[in-house]
């Protein structure tokens, strides 16, 4: 028993010292899964003598929920999508910074500075820009894939072979595009139709999952899967039968941003990290790993060929993507009900 106690105390002491010592500072990141290369974190860690810890989430809404559940104040930076930046700002979850705090601020591609969700970039910097559509295993399904009907009104042979992202914003936006109604519509008939459409579509879907999106396509468990374009490019590199579709009704266009969180325990390191990500070489490292477009000028000269030539990253001319909109509280309530109905 004494020995056990001794072992226990030693373990406590070890853990405490492990947490405190080692690096001069800490940085706590709340990030999407599989979205930043470990080497880049190590590089930052080494350059600035900062111990980096990272937690991951798999949808904007899940991240928001976790921060609301008391995690705000324990992370320094997070990586919300466009509309979520606006929501987080409304919720008072974001801190602001001055341009002068980041020497690389000028590297931001000018077209991404005055964005609707953060005019003038007061709390966020661009991270990666991509699209959300779907991918099809062309060996298993040879039909037409140029319409969102493959997802929402699939032919019988695809029934039970479809994975859909577990992400409310994206599913609802794509469904609205498919039906040709505006996002966040306040029209009751349109909302009813949206609900009915999703109920019908759901019968053909096999699973809801974001983090499994690539795996089910690669393994062949799913023939069609809603997916982000870069994640899709990775999937294709593991299974050449996969093809990313550019539906004629449109697709979701998004921009992820690194935001400075309110009550960040290590604000200085957070700023350093954001500045670090605006270095073209580092921004390119993210793109080469995650395979989305970078919002930093000069990053493209570091891109690897796979990225430069990936069909997932180079939409054919004339295709249209649209940002997801942040709905008002009233519409959001209905959206939540539709989503719950869908997940029943």
């Amino acid at each position: 028993m004494n020995k056990l106690l001794l072992a226990g105390t030693t373990a406590v002491a070890l853990t405490l010292s492990a947490g405190v010592a080692q690096a001069a500072g800490n940085l706590s990141i709340y990030h999407w899964f599989e979205y930043i290369p470990q080497e880049l974190l190590d590089k930052f860690s080494k350059e600035h003598d900062v111990k980096v810890t990272m937690d991951t989430f798999d949808s904007n809404e899940a991240m928001l929920a976790a921060l609301k559940a008391g995690k705000l104040g324990s992370y320094d930076v997070s990586v919300p999508g466009d509309y979520m930046v606006e929501i987080m700002a409304q919720e008072g979850m974001l801190d602001t910074f001055e341009r002068s705090e980041m020497s690389n601020f000028g590297n931001i591609d000018p077209q991404w500075i005055d964005v609707g969700f953060d005019m003038g970039r007061k709390s966020s910097i661009p991270y990666q820009i991509g699209t959300t559509g779907f991918m099809v295993n062309r060996k298993a399904y040879k039909g037409d894939i140029s319409s969102l009907s493959v997802l929402f009104d699939p032919p019988a042979e695809l029934k039970g072979k479809i994975n859909v992202l577990d992400s409310q914003g994206e599913v609802m936006a794509l469904a609205a595009m498919y039906m040709g109604i505006p996002q966040c519509s306040t029209d009751r008939d349109q909302l009813k139709k949206l609900n009915a459409q999703l109920q019908k579509s759901k019968e053909s879907w096999a699973s809801f999952g974001s983090d499994i999106a690539k795996d089910v396509l690669v393994s062949g468990d799913a023939t069609v899967g809603m997916i982000y374009n870069g994640f899709g490019a990775k999937a294709r590199s593991e299974n050449a039968d996969l093809e990313y579709a550019y539906p004629k009704e449109g697709y979701v266009f998004w921009m992820d941003n690194v935001v400075l969180l309110k009550n960040a325990p290590n604000r200085d390191n957070a700023i350093k990290f954001m500045n670090f990500l605006l270095e073209p070489e580092n921004a390119a490292a993210v793109t080469n790993y995650a395979q989305y477009i970078s919002g930093v000028t000069g990053a493209d000269k570091y891109f690897i060929d796979d990225v430069k030539n990936a069909p997932e990253l180079n939409p054919p001319a004339g295709q249209k993507g649209a940002f997801i909109e942040a709905c008002s509280q009233e519409v959001q309530k209905v959206y939540d009900t539709i989503w719950t109905n869908l997940k029943k």
Binding site: L5, V12, T15, E34, S74, I212
Partner: protein, 270 residues
Amino acid sequence: MASRKLDLRYFPGFRPLTFLCLFLLYAPLIIVMVYSFNDSISITKWGGLSLRWYHEVFFGPEAPKFQTAAFNSLTIALIAATLATAIATSAATAMIRAGNFKGRSFGFVLINLPIMVPEIVTAVATLIFFSAIGFTTGYLTIVIAHTVFCIPFAYLPIAARMQSIDNTYEQAALDLYATKFAAFKLVLLPLMAPGIFSGFLLAFIISLDDFIITNFVKGAGIETLPTAIFGSVKRGIQPNIMAISTLLLVVSVVFVTLSYLVGRTGEKSK
């Protein structure tokens, strides 16, 4: 009797069902073990024997993440199991050696509460509690939550052992003017050692095993092995996960075997 052909203990079909049971229990584990030595990048195609995924576990790009997670898991299990064992030993002494006292039945219900409440409910309740009192979730919250639900698991073998020990030894010590504390420390505790050890091991493994509660109460940047593995598996079963699983499997089996052997020596010395 000997002439009777009917063996009363025999039922046709029970033996094959038992073998089926063993097969069902072991087949998935053995397959994962076998595939952890697969040389191929694809998890389902066999590409010859290799230790590359074990190399990856220890030296690959994700190695630091899993090492930290393993360190967290082990230290949390060690601290939580130690605390739970101490608390359970004290409670067992009260339940079994302290006669009747006020609150005894309530205490018994309380001790068993963590096994009666479904894990997911414990997880939700703990999350709500910590968030309501503004206690930042982190390493400490996991330790607290694990200690709580490990208590009944430590209690079971400890109480069972204590009940099987006659109190005449302690009585004799008291007759020889030993203090109660001395009787407890010098007589009861040594006799209890095997029970306490199994209680500790049980609590230790239960803590190592936990996913749901940890997932709810873990704080920023803290992963235990199960949460790290879960996060990784959601994105697809990678071969290195099979290697980690095999390693964990071996650790568990070693632990149980150890506990089994200690338990047996305990039985003999009785």
